[in-house]
């Protein structure tokens, strides 16, 4: 029983960060129809920003996460403004190629600046775990879970309860109709890309202190983000959040009760099954893409 509880706690923490990653990717796709292959690199950018802030200019850990979010937002807005606004970009394939190009450039820049060796980001939290009977969890993980949960709630409220959120949802449903009623769709695009990128950067800044920061960390994160979004349904915000938790639980329990050798495979196995029986994803309505 203790062991199951420990697994549940592990999966909740992991799931909350997966949800952040997934939501950032899915909102960009849902609104802009951009398959953002650079998502993992924005995650890495967040991790290294936090590392740079904490170790190089001695900023405190909490502010470094905020700076990572701002830098992620800025770079996201820049990518949208410089590369995705061109009028001749009509084709989803062209956009994909641009995003792959940006991914390669960003990854190599990270490698050039930080080198290939992993970096540990120091946190102000105690190294001693919090114990409850046989269950133990590090304070860093508790912090990561709380911040992720708060961010998810803020994001949800922002989309559902604010006027700007309404404009985003309207654009999501029908761009032309939104434009007719006076929504500035171009601005929605920039803000969406900036927000999605900021979510990825925060996920990176939060997760890196739990693990380590490396230039290639974005590859696995990208793969997971795509898995989560496909599981939840492309463009579905709630689906991405639930998909994140679902993937974390599948990985955690699959690894401990079936075989740890196939931990990453379990997630993809479930995705194959979902694609077979519900190709639009678990939580999205059917639609035709492309």
């Amino acid at each position: 029983m203790d062991q199951i509880l420990q697994h549940v706690i592990n999966a909740m923490v992991l799931g909350s960060t997966y949800a952040l990653l997934g939501i950032g990717l899915t909102i960009i796709f849902g609104i802009m129809r951009v398959v953002n292959f650079a998502h993992g690199e924005l995650y890495t950018l967040g991790a290294y920003t936090a590392y740079g802030m904490v170790t190089l200019i001695n900023l405190d850990f909490f502010s470094s996460i905020l700076v990572a979010a701002l830098i992620g937002m800025l770079i996201g807005a820049l990518i949208e403004y410089v590369f995705l606004r061109r009028k001749d970009l009509k084709n989803i394939d062209e956009v994909m190629l641009i995003m792959i190009g940006i991914m390669i450039i960003m990854q190599n820049l990270e490698l050039m600046i930080w080198g290939g060796v992993a970096k540990i980001i120091p946190t102000p939290f105690s190294q001693d775990p919090i114990s409850m009977g046989a269950i133990a969890i590090s304070p860093t993980r508790v912090f990561v879970f709380c911040i992720s949960a708060v961010l998810l709630v803020i994001f949800y409220l922002g989309i559902e309860r604010t006027r700007f959120g309404l404009a985003i949802r309207a654009t999501f449903q029908d761009q032309d109709a939104a434009r007719i009623v006076g929504v500035n769709v171009k601005r929605i695009y920039t803000v969406t890309f900036a927000l999605g990128s900021a979510m990825a950067a925060v996920a990176g800044a939060l997760l890196a202190p739990m693990f380590v920061a490396t230039p290639l960390m974005g590859d696995l994160a990208s793969l997971k983000a795509f898995a989560i979004v496909i599981l939840g349904g492309l463009g579905s915000l709630g689906g991405a959040a639930l998909g994140g938790f679902l993937l974390a639980f599948i990985e955690e329990f699959g690894a401990s009760y079936i075989s740890s050798a196939y931990r990453d495979a379990f997630g993809f196995l479930v995705i194959i099954v979902v694609m077979l029986f519900r190709p639009q994803g678990l939580f999205a309505a059917k639609e035709r893409v492309g």
């Binding site: 203790d2 062991q3 420990q6 697994h7 592990n10 992991l14 490698l111 080198g115 290939g116 060796v117 992993a118 540990i120 120091p122 190294q127 001693d128 775990p129 114990s131 046989a134 133990a136 969890i137 590090s138 993980r141 739990m210 693990f211 380590v212 490396t214 230039p215 290639l216 960390m217 590859d219 696995l220 990985e251 955690e252 329990f253 690894a255 401990s256 009760y257 075989s259 740890s260 050798a261 931990r263 990453d264």
Partner: protein
Amino acid sequence: MAISKRYLASLLVGTLAATPVWAADPIKIGVSQPLTGAVAASGNYVTNGARIAAAEINEKGGLLGREVELIIEDNKSNPREAVNAAEKLILSDKVPVIMGAWSSTYTLATMPKLEEYGVPMVVETSSSSKITKAGNPWIFRIAPTSAMEAQAFAKKLDNFDPPIKKVDFLSVNNDWGLGASQEFEKMFKANGIEIGRKETVSPDTVDLSAQLSALKGTGSDTLIMTSGVEQLTLGIRQAADQRLSQRIVTTGGSFPEPLLESPGPKGYTSSHLLFFSPWTPESSVYPDIAGAFVDAWAEAGYSFPGLSEGFRGYDGIMTIAAAIENAGSTEPDAIREALWDVQVKGVNGDISFFKDGPEGKESGQNEPNVYVVQLKDGEVSAQ
């Protein structure tokens, strides 16, 4: 204008005077290491060790009157890239000998290319027994096999108090990790020690919590962990996070260096099987060689704990240099023949090769020394 020309001329003369004059083209030695990717830390340490060896050789007049030049290729912690790296070194750079490729998986992937093109490779790190048993006569391994490591560890079992009675395994899911857990399991069984649960982890995984939680209730007293620097660091930190009760012993010669600066909870102790203990160079077989290497490493500005793997690169290049010197030639065939007779005094100790693998197609295998160190609260002590 006239001044700047004169200035340039004096600069040129100055540069020429500072560079030693070499008899002919440099002798190229290929190096294939994981400089990026999952095990980048180790690959960079080994490469730095190789650089120190090359600089030392050149300072002493080079080889056969020629300068030594390392051609370093990044195998990107990926077996496919390791094959590309070897092919580039052999076909494009025309190196007569290679040192590589860190992981057993990368080395095994590279081996058919060595046979195809007839180029010898000195294997500095890989420990899977498959490497020297495969019947590839171009392989010369200075690193210990997992079986040798397990046997060396068997002699140190009495040092553990309370004694080891039951062990679990957490191994990276590749030739190295699986091979090591097999060999250690055999050794433990032979010593009457019970085997508990065996968990694996894919090489690029950063969250090991599922595996560690599964190891919580096994009743074992020891966990044998085999992986690179990054995963050992993550594993030990996350095990402490979950209050895993087993003592952790790592194998394979990698040291979780980042734990020196950011140690886990107070009092948490881990043991590490190393092939060079830079904290105690005086306990090496040749303390003067080990000491000089430690000094050269510090002078180059490399991080101290990287020494525990960096020495592999140094010993590897020194072994290749001895073979080239003995062969009096830079032909791959001549270097291979000469490798059989080298007697090198390295940082780890004596390096020479005995025959291993199927008759007629034997690979060379060295019998290195093994050291155990203990890490507690960011401090290292010999055990």
